[in-house]
Symmetry: C2
Subunit: 222 residues, 2 copies
């Protein structure tokens, strides 16, 4: 079996070093010197493998995205329908499991805060947020269609579900003892069920064996 | 009218200086020198007015808490019942208004991220989170009782509502253009309405003029 190229190992050491540096002192204070020191490498090697700090951050965010995607795909692979695929997403983001990684969650929270002040970080963060919203929209849309419901307020609900996930990440990282253990996934799933239940059926769509007529939703409040 | 004491003005300058310093480089990198420089004061004056950096942070978090409390109280003062008081809370945290302060929201997001790595910050942050959860619990409990519903899963729902608020703060601070404008308050209010609607009524409680019997909830999913 061929050895993993040395370049890959070095690059991974440097990305891990950036993560440790952000965790210890934030992105702004993460000089190449500090990243090198946290990686156990000489600064020259960092410069050899990455053009600049921003490129290391892009790689780190890509890795966090790949980790999040693999959690989802492992669960979605055994989902039988759109409802289960949406639940697979919720569990991938919010339920614990053998593949849970609190460090990745904490890193994401810290990168989100760095994005407030650092335009470079914000651009990279927003790219990830855009992808996540697109994924949630696809999953919600498929579930609404599967239920014979009209597709409505999808952008707002996708943003709301993402906000909930981001907020759970914040509280899980800095106030874990103050919230009930494992409350988040079931709550998000129940929220989605109620949102879909409250949506209007598509006129003439067969639900549970009989035709439904267009009727006023009762679940909303305004 | 007596002038505001000079001490108060100086302390406020220093607290504002800490906020600017956190915004620019994080709490870890906020030396007394940096805070003094951001306040336009000599470092000796910072040391004169505050024992240490932690004490400045405590004051800043107290001020953010007082700002959040005043937003809520202004709206709760005109609320006629528990339902409107809960809506007043949601609007105070999530709706825009003439008293909206994006800087305070961004500061809170950054302090939340600092709390992940800094035990001092975490302790102060958690104190504020504990108070916020207690407030949400009281408001939710009063609304459930007003509706004749049993008080159930209050801790989980309070944590969920707080997570949603925190997540909206994150997205409002670093990805505002990617989420629909002003989506959050109505969504949280609808979520609360559905949660309360799905709860079991207290046996024998009169709702809308007739006695209800204990029945299985249909809205939840587990």
């Amino acid at each position: 079996m061929p050895r993993k190229p040395n370049t890959e190992l070095r690059r991974q050491q440097i990305v891990d070093g950036l993560l440790r540096t952000i965790a210890a002192q934030g992105y702004t204070g993460a000089t190449i010197q500090a990243i090198a020191s946290a990686s156990g490498l000489a600064p020259g090697l960092v410069h050899y493998h990455f053009r600049d700090k921003r490129e290391i951050l892009v790689t780190l965010v890509e890795q966090l995205g790949a980790y999040a995607a693999s959690r989802f795909q492992a669960r979605a692979a055994v989902a039988a329908n759109a409802r289960e695929r949406l639940r697979a997403y919720i569990d991938a983001r919010l339920a614990y499991g053998s593949d849970a990684n609190p460090d990745a969650v904490a890193a994401w929270v810290m990168i989100g805060a760095e994005a407030v002040r650092e335009p470079d970080v914000r651009e990279i963060y927003q790219r990830a947020v855009r992808q996540e919203i697109a994924l949630i929209r696809r999953l919600l849309r498929a579930y609404l269609l599967e239920c014979g419901k009209r597709v409505h307020k999808l952008d707002a609900f996708a943003a709301g579900l993402l906000a909930f996930v981001e907020g759970v990440f914040v509280l899980a990282s800095n106030a874990r003892t103050l919230v009930p253990t494992g409350f988040a996934a079931d709550m998000a799933a129940a929220w989605v069920e109620r949102y879909v239940a409250a949506e209007l059926p598509v006129a003439g769509h067969a639900v549970a064996g009989k035709k439904t007529v267009r009727q006023k939703s009762k679940g909303g409040q305004r």
